[in-house]
């Protein structure tokens, strides 16, 4: 039997002017369960709160209803008041008689009658309240960053800076990611490697950062603050602790025909290789598909050449398991497949290349040593045509519906760099729209046009076909309303970018939601842009959506700030208004987990007594209270009504309905 206290607030004149507060507290004092009812000028004031505290103690109240302003305003205040008087803070209900009553109704009778009903409804709900306690869980003070590109590096560095340990898991043999492949960066045109590699070195040197390169996440268990992650360390066949990165093995290797992924397959590398000069870790790796020793058992030259004995052909994948408090996804992007765009002849003509290939062709460490030469005949191209929006903004099903965001800027960069270095080169750019929002971005693009004389053509290319050693680029020039054909030596496609495909697997493991384009979904597009809806999972860089380097770095740091905020806590206090499943009624059908945006629901097998000495094992839902955010989607999806929401239980809401409808 509850003992309820009712406190009607005048809110000065805000409520009292239109609601007869005296009468409201009088009428409510007769409600079932109410043992004390009063009214006061300002309940939220020091004195008002004292009044409540005294009443709770004097009348042994088990719950209170405050008829006042919106719960969004002072629910927290009155919960604290109740707690201070020894009452469970969730035994407090607010009847909103200001915003929802006194402020909107002029008729005093009408407003008073409504206030009574709202008060009565709050009492009806409170009668069914149960004390709730916020759960507490510890936090493992270590973060995992999945992906070692600029996003992952920046996030890891910032977290390490704050004093927390971070692991970077990188699927490739080195960290650095896509940015390491770039030549120059817009809009300042500084050398990509020059700004990236120091950060890579910082990572390697940080005591707090553990780089797990050539590794993949295998399994994720747990929840915010308490993840357990199994990581596969792929066999390198080179002992990381011994290898000095001297490169002797590379020279010794007889199998030199492997395509160099770092150079976008534009040249070759040996079977044992270091991806690039500044690789971190600077350790060789053997391509098992290419290595003669691993394939045929005959060779072993590199092992003989290695002075430190780092090479081990018997190496196997190993697994490690670590605990983390937070997980950052920074899996990045790749260039999308152009197989549906044969009108541009990418597959048929060596001299039709993607922009990322052009980066390598222009880079001093690239296949041509930085001299721009056509892949086909190694001649200097005299006419270069760029095509924008290849596969972006395409809803025909062949490409991506979104704008890849970075192409306008990097194309302007390429055009400018080429005109700068090879002034005799003619550069044309077919564009649909030029999108250059960003600090100094539009100025940059205009410089390409005005200062470097790049020919921008508003229109799209219809087809590219070879004519001798020339590439004929036929397209429309919409401003001149002409169809033009440009005889070019090199065609560069600004291909759409897409999320790194492995992200799908990772998102599933993390139960982080993913959109139709495979970009991870943020918890709130505007207000929580670096968090996944799954608590404890954060998003950094391109995995969340197309963005350039400055934006990636800012997001990475924002993400780090969020992670630090989490790791700084010793305990996580969870919102106690969460779902819970009545195991006796749960069918284990799996419907609830389908609608849970947070992956808070799992299923466990449990034994039940059936009576008559019989038992049976049933699959039942189990809600992780630390992860559940209390939206209630599962409660309605559940056909048996086993799922209910604490604080907003079925019975409570129905009691409110009944109370309102009582005439």
């Amino acid at each position: 039997m509850q003992r309820i206290g009712v406190f009607v607030c005048w809110c000065g004149n805000n409520i009292a002017a239109t609601v007869d507060v005296e009468r409201v507290s009088e009428i409510l004092s007769h409600e079932y369960g109410v043992v004390y009812s009063t009214n006061y000028q300002f309940m939220c004031s020091e004195n008002g709160q004292q009044l409540i505290k005294t009443a709770i103690k004097e009348h042994n109240l088990t719950g209170i209803v405050v008829c006042s302003c919106s719960p969004r305003m002072h629910e927290a205040t009155f919960r604290k008041t109740a707690e201070a008087a020894g009452l469970n803070p969730y035994m407090v209900e607010i009847a909103n008689i200001r915003e929802h009553c006194s402020w909107i109704h002029k008729d005093r009778e009408e407003a008073t009658a409504k206030a009574v009903i709202l008060g009565r409804t709050a009492i009806a709900k409170l009668l069914l309240n149960t004390p709730l306690t916020a759960g507490e869980v510890g936090v493992t003070k270590r973060a995992l960053v999945i992906g070692g590109g600029i996003a992952g590096i920046q996030t890891a560095l910032d977290i390490a800076e704050a004093g927390y340990e971070v692991d970077i898991v990188e699927q490739r043999a080195t960290i650095g990611g896509r940015m390491a492949q770039l030549d120059k960066t817009f809009p300042t045109l500084d050398c990509s490697a020059c700004i990236l590699t120091p950060k890579m070195v910082d990572c390697a040197q940080s005591e707090k950062i553990d780089i797990l390169a050539y590794s993949e996440v295998e399994e994720v268990k747990g929840f915010v603050g308490n993840f357990t992650v199994k990581i596969r360390r792929k066999a390198r066949y080179v002992d990381e602790t011994k290898c000095t990165g001297c490169g002797a093995c590379m020279n010794a290797c007889p199998s030199k025909k492997g395509l160099n992924e770092f150079n976008m397959n534009l040249n070759t590398r040996p079977a044992i290789y270091i991806p690039f000069a500044q690789a971190i870790p600077n350790v060789a790796v053997i391509d098992p598909e290419q290595c003669l020793k691993l394939k045929t058992g005959k060779c072993g030259l590199c092992q003989r050449k290695c002075e430190v004995g780092a090479i081990d052909y018997t190496m196997q994948d190993t697994f490690i398991e670590r605990n983390y408090g937070a997980i950052v996804v920074a899996t990045g992007f790749r260039i999308s497949d152009l197989k549906y765009f044969n009108e541009y002849g990418y597959a048929d003509n060596k001299d039709v290349i993607t922009s990322l290939e052009l980066e390598r062709l222009m880079n001093a460490a690239g296949p041509t040593g930085g001299t721009l030469l056509r892949p086909s005949d190694k001649k200097h191209p005299k006419v270069i045509t760029f095509i924008q929006c290849v596969g972006s903004r395409d809803i025909s099903g062949c490409g991506k519906p979104y704008c890849s965001k970075i192409c306008c800027m990097y194309t302007a960069k390429h055009a400018m760099l080429i005109r700068e270095k090879y002034p005799d080169t003619e550069v044309h750019v077919f564009y649909i729209d030029i999108r250059t929002p960003g600090k100094n971005y539009d100025e940059f693009y205009r410089r390409a046009v005005e200062q470097y004389g790049v020919d921008y053509i508003k229109g799209m290319v219809g087809k590219v076909y070879a004519n001798g050693d020339k590439l004929m680029v036929q397209g429309s020039d919409l401003l001149n309303n002409e169809q033009i054909t440009i005889e070019s030596d090199l065609v560069v496609l600004a291909a759409a970018i897409e999320p790194e495909p492995s992200v799908r697997r990772i998102a599933t493991m993390l139960s982080a939601s993913i959109d139709t384009n495979n970009f991870l979904t943020e918890a709130h597009a505007k207000l929580r842009p670096v968090e996944s809806p799954t608590a404890g999972v954060y998003l950094s860089g391109m995995c969340q959506g197309p963005k350039d380097i400055p934006e990636t770095v800012s997001q990475a740091s924002a993400c780090a700030a969020k992670v630090i905020g989490l790791l700084a806590k010793d305990k996580l206090k969870s919102n106690p208004c969460v779902s819970h499943s009545d195991e006796m009624m749960c069918n284990g059908c799996g419907t609830c987990a389908n609608v849970c945006p947070y992956g808070a629901i799992t299923y466990i097998d449990k034994e039940f007594r059936l009576g008559g000495g019989k038992t049976e094992t049933r699959r039942v839902a189990s809600v992780n209270e630390a992860v559940c955010q209390g939206c209630g989607a599962c409660t309605v999806a559940c056909p048996s009504g086993a799922m209910d929401l604490k604080g907003f239980a079925n019975k409570q809401i129905m009691a409110e309905v009944e109370s309102i409808c009582k005439r």
Binding site: R393, M460, G462, K463, G475, S476, N481, Q483
Partner: protein, 128 residues
């Protein structure tokens, strides 16, 4: 039929959503008959979107379009300029009554110069 009604009817007849066009001009970039056309393929889409039907109905382009579907095939927005042209063409042809190309007339019209595609297109255009 007032203009809005006609425009809507033609939009419906074309079966394509002209609002999806992002004005990239790829259709015109691909069109093999571009030079012969007074109104260009991309303009068919934007004129229809704007309800400028008369201009389209009076254009020579109507009769130059081969219905080769080059413009349709790789439109990134799933718009079909050829279908727009077809719709406009029908709006002109239908009121003319039965003066269409008959199958038996085709052999006489054939010679080595005429591209196959044109014959296919002609059937499509004049024989329904």
């Amino acid at each position: 039929m007032d203009n809005t009604e006609l425009t809507n009817r033609l939009k419906e007849l074309s079966g394509t959503n002209v609002r999806q066009c992002m004005k990239c001009g790829k259709c015109s970039g691909r069109c093999p008959m571009f030079d012969k056309m007074d109104v260009k393929p991309h303009q068919f889409v934007s004129y229809l979107a704007d309800g400028k039907i008369e201009k389209l109905q009076n254009s020579k382009s109507l009769w130059y379009c081969l219905s080769c579907m080059e413009c349709v095939e790789r439109c990134p927005r799933g718009v079909a300029p050829a279908a727009v042209i077809e719709a406009i063409r029908e709006s002109v042809v239908r009121p003319q009554g039965g003066n269409r190309l008959q199958p038996e007339e085709v052999p006489a019209l054939l010679n080595d110069e005429v591209p196959q595609q044109l014959i296919v297109g002609a059937y499509r255009k004049y024989n329904h």
